[in-house]
């Protein structure tokens, strides 16, 4: 594995997320990140950024989301920064995974995936921005 990082600034627009996913995969190839780890980081980042675009702003025009990925030996860290409304995903209740089909609701899947895929999540509000840090161990 090659240590390193990339910072991607992307307009708050759903069509940009495909581009972000492509960059994440290329980063993983270049840095020789184990595919299981890359898969988890790719998906978690997709969910978080999609949520910011969908729920973060009254008007997304001109808004930018910053995603930073860092690969170190033993760990991959991903940080998402946005100036959207204050939102701490760690405070969301988990969906009821035991409910029968007829009672399962459609919401809450994204954040639950992020929590399950990552080994550590930290949220802070800083300078009027949400900063979510996600850690994934590389074993």
């Amino acid at each position: 594995m090659h240590e390193g990082s990339i910072t991607v600034r992307l307009p708050a627009d759903l069509r940009e997320i495909e581009r972000l996913n492509r960059v994440v995969r290329q980063f993983g190839d270049l840095h020789e990140v184990p595919s299981r780890v890359l898969y988890a980081v790719n998906l978690a980042l997709d969910e978080v950024v999609t949520n910011v675009v969908r729920h973060g702003f009254d008007d997304t025009a001109g808004q930018e989301i910053v995603a930073q990925i860092v690969a170190r030996s033993g760990e991959m860290t991903t940080e998402v920064t946005d100036a959207g409304r204050t939102f701490n995903p760690l405070e969301m209740p988990p969906p009821n995974l035991e409910a029968p089909l007829s009672e399962r609701t459609l919401g809450g899947l994204g954040i639950h995936l992020v929590r399950s895929l990552m080994d550590g999540l930290e949220y802070r509000r800083e300078n009027g921005k949400n900063v979510l840090t996600m850690r994934k161990r590389i074993r």
């Binding site: 759903l14 069509r15 997320i17 495909e18 996913n21 595919s35 299981r36 898969y39 790719n42 998906l43 997709d46 969910e47 999609t50 969906p95 995974l97 035991e98 029968p100 089909l101 007829s102 399962r104 459609l106 899947l109 994204g110 639950h112 995936l113 399950s116 895929l117």
Partner: protein, 117 residues
């Protein structure tokens, strides 16, 4: 994403491939729900070539399963890659959906015959 459709007796088979994400899930949703609306009751989704699914895609499976249930229909998923199956497990879909290893298993589960070899 690519979607292919075929029919085997009463069973409708949808084959989806590559990435089922926010951009492609709307297409998949209208296609799958459209099939339910036009009367299909036994539906197999062959995920053998599906590499990536996010929550937008997962919701489509849930929506279709929920819509089919009160109609007496059934949705069966087959051939999920290990990484995709892991995601289904994480959100508890393996409890509420029929997920089987192969297309043959899916056809058997729907009471039809296995595909000719």
């Amino acid at each position: 994403m690519q979607i292919k459709e075929s029919k085997q007796g009463e069973v409708l088979i949808l084959t989806i491939s590559e990435h089922l994400d926010s951009a492609t899930s709307t297409v998949f949703e209208s296609r799958l729900l459209g099939l339910v609306d036009r009367g299909e009751r036994k539906i197999v989704i062959d995920c053998g070539s599906l590499e990536y699914v996010n929550s937008a895609g997962l919701k489509v499976f849930l929506l279709a399963a929920k819509r089919l249930e009160p109609l007496g229909g059934k949705l069966v998923l087959c051939a999920l890659a290990p990484s995709v199956l892991m995601i289904f497990e994480m959100i508890g879909f393996t409890r509420i959906m029929k997920i089987v290893p192969s297309l043959d298993d899916a056809l058997k589960a729907l009471g039809g015959e296995a595909a000719p070899a």
